[in-house]
Symmetry: D2
């Protein structure tokens, strides 16, 4: 294998640049020629493909977002779009892809192999931590660092005023960010999509806290469980909790990569190239314990990332 291309796709996540850098440097180490594709499948179709030099990835490991950019592509869903994309790879002799992104991005890679024989290895990039096959996806540690710093700041003002705050974090189907942020910040309650919220329990708890002289309450809500504004209304109707709302939004996605994500991206980027060299294809790099394993796309798509129940219980103990 001589020529490979690297792309980022779907929502960006911190650490993608570390993975790009490692894939490029590892390709050079094994005498391969790395290409970059700009803006994911969109760029593949529009022939936005270019050779990457060693210095193109210098000093990018600490930068947020992705230097290869990302975009959605409706056209790639069509056979015509796919054929254009494949044509652009083949005319350069590109034999395989490193695809950094979420489920949807890896599905595209699967199509490219099943229908057009383009090999690929995926790298899970998603701040939600909702991808099966890896303990943690690229970007999760940074997103949680940003959330933690924000909740710490809100705690400062909440403690000064004796106020209730509801903080909405990302996570459409997955409460991972909310639970882990709850543990890391000492939040008073957490609501996640996986579990029906016990609003009466929360209201009782806050009332009991008030009786004990604790007038600060921090409630973290995963967006998939409902709107922070709605929960705010419910609390307000329940008593004297005049809750302030914070919706953290995209600062969760745009953080500067943490130590953990820089290293994870570097390990996965290198493992992707080494996997391709060793004949692997149609697999995603997954952090399992302390090792990077290769997980077949089928497993990634058909199974669900499960929340560690010990951690959910831990939250219950600590709050």
């Amino acid at each position: 294998m001589k020529k490979i291309a690297i792309m980022t796709s779907g929502g960006d996540s911190p650490g993608m640049n570390g993975a790009v850098r490692a894939a490029v440097r590892t390709a050079f180490y094994y005498n391969m020629t790395p290409y970059g594709i700009l803006s994911g499948y969109k760029g593949m179709i529009e022939d936005n493909i270019f050779e990457l030099k060693h210095s193109d990835v210098s000093n990018i490991i600490g930068r947020g977002g992705t230097i290869l950019q990302t975009a959605r592509s409706q056209e790639f869903r069509t056979e015509e779009g796919q054929k254009k994309a494949v044509e652009n790879l083949k005319k350069r002799g590109i034999e395989a892809l490193v695809v950094i992104g979420g489920d949807g991005s890896l599905s595209g890679a699967k199509v490219l192999y099943d229908k057009y024989d383009i090999k690929s290895i995926g790298i899970p990039g998603s701040i939600d931590n909702d991808i099966y096959g890896t303990d943690v996806s690229l970007g999760v540690d940074t997103a949680l660092t940003v959330i933690m710093d924000s909740v710490d700041m809100i705690n400062n003002t909440a403690s000064s005023h004796g106020r209730t705050f509801i903080i909405e974090v990302m996570g459409r189907h997955c409460g991972y960010l909310a639970v882990m942020a709850g543990i890391a910040t000492g939040a008073d309650a957490v609501i996640i999509p996986e579990v029906k919220p016990d609003l009466d329990g929360i209201i009782s708890k806050f009332k009991k806290r008030a009786e004990d002289g604790k007038t600060r309450n921090i409630l973290i809500v995963a967006e998939g469980a409902g709107s922070a504004y709605e929960f705010g209304k419910i609390l307000q109707e329940a008593g004297t909790f005049d809750a302030r709302i914070t919706v953290l939004g995209h600062i969760q996605r745009g953080g500067f990569p943490s130590y953990f994500d820089r290293v994870l991206g570097s390990r996965m980027g290198a493992a992707a190239i080494e996997g391709l060299i060793n004949g692997r294809n149609g697999v995603m790099t997954g952090l399992q314990g302390n090792k990077i394993e290769y997980v077949p796309y089928e497993d990634v798509f058909s199974r669900k990332h499960e929340m560690n129940q010990n951690v959910v219980k831990l939250l219950d103990i600590l709050t």
Copy 2:
């Protein structure tokens, strides 16, 4: 003067703890006895007043919010409430107050002198920078640091996707935070309450940027100029700008005090005590250039903090 009391009141702002610490330490330096009042005028009425020891203010200079807490007090607006409050001061022999807060908090201090002969010096704490008589209020530098860090992060993801972002910052009547954040982050446009927004101009600019291949747009809006969501709708109707909204909210208020605010708080806290010793009363400490001056409450209340027009022009040049 032997006994003075220190309180924080109104919205909390970063740096208040540095001011409290400096006031306490300076009082000890001049052999005075400092008291703390918990939760502002509310605590004054409820007799939540206690002597402060040297060690009570150790290691607080880096903490956000205010260790003396703050609260609103309807009761203090009544003569009955005021009398209770004054009684609690007088029974301890407290002769003067250091009041850290915004306009409203200083108005309360003025009432206490005009009607009850309790002396005071104010310290301007307000992240909005809307207080006359000081170049910068306590907390502004930290709030801008938090905003800057947040906009940098949003810029990371916006640049990766070629997206338009609208970021709503605090400032009901005053665009200071929005303008200065615009300069510090290289935002593409800023909307403030003081100036009618030129939405057509902004839309033209963003369209021109798109023609030049720049698909990232960062628009900062001060809350007093309108809702970020509304401006988002206008942009969307104007063309293809599918803007994402971020409302930073209370993380702007709860930041960990910056170097600047730690020093400003320390200088103002010491100046307040020294002012009282030197017979000053009914004045607020103001940073004017490199000096701390004493500004009469009347001036603070009757005049308006003006935006430096050079800075507004600078924003225009740089964006």
Copy 3:
């Protein structure tokens, strides 16, 4: 088991407060009474032991160092000292200990069981990551975050001047911090105690970089491999590398706990109490993959934490 005591011992490490908090809260959850011992074995001998309340551990999870403090104790090495210490535990009915610290601290705990029948579970706190039985010790992630931030800053000035910098990091017997920091920051070379340094190779590399127009060089040295100043002299004698030296020192130890260390400390603190309840004794909590396991003290003392060789190779590929 009704009464347990918690202590931190040896060098402090970030995350210890999270572990203390979790142990206290978990003890309450299971209706046990938690005690704190101040300054490790020294405090145990001097009877510096006190009951911990729920609120004693509020808002400590984000604080660096350890609220229980730590100190060295020569006296604990004597039988007389040990007997005093045990007496102080027994008179309160304390049946078991949670000991947070390094190898030396756990050895003390082993002595207390072997000779005096005091049970214990250890939690590995060490920024060097030199403790067998856990993938990562408490404090390592934070230490690496501090190192990474520092090297990023040095890189800023090194790149502006085209200079060579040598940065000495902690690690007497173990190059873990140096290697991982090298990966996370894109350093140009790393020297660790485990491997004889190839100084000629480094000099050749730097000379080649200079020929390619890259005049910035970042060399990270683990303290156990030799002094940064000595390596600086060697580089200087070898050619034109006028290296600047930075010895990071204790800022590596004093960082504010990262997200990772807050959660790791919380998990280990809870696991220690649950282990004691389930009859475990003489074991250390270890992070193995995604799980907390219990590792016998004997294994901890007799075996060595091995550097992941994949990571060493990765550094070689990326630099």
Copy 4:
């Protein structure tokens, strides 16, 4: 005036990139053509001069160091070198310079006008804050932020162990960084070059603290006042203070620009261009109070930046 060139020279300081960006953007605003000179006077001699485009300065305001780089130049001290440099400016029609740097860099600019009629305006870049004519130089706020964060971290570990720490900060002739860091961090003592150190006083103070049960001591030393290692020996000989030493070194210079330095650089960069347009020459932009003033080079060179004595007294009160 149609063509101007911008350069950074001497030691780099945070905020230089903001000044470069603002000078470039302001030049475009007034329809001038900006050039960049790489590596200061060295690049001027070696003809490393190039036109700057609008996008060359995009997204640099948050980057540390200087994108224009900096270097020392012995050759510029010779008439031959100067003539080469001037020739390279004149052949492009460059009429004036914006020189960002310290005293030495501005001296070079003065020579260029006195002998070769090249106009210039200087911008004070120096983390030491030792330049006359400006309340604060570019980079000081960021350097102090880095120092403050480091001392906070050292305080975490010092408080946990009850240890004495000596932290050496930059400042060869000027104790500004040490004094201000002392205020901002609550240090226990500060030693600066301007004042003969009262070591007996410091030792007595630390002994008294020990008697009061405060075993943590933080001593900040400006490098110009002597070596932290030497002061450490003196403390050790004086009693039981086994002091740990930290030399912060170049992390003080390489920080990511703070909010304050981003804005200060932007204001000064714009003011430099506007000054040139308005016929000013041989002056440095200085922050005086809230305004940017133009200070003649003669004053800058012949006078000394004086420490604000109120601040020195404040330190005395607070420690």
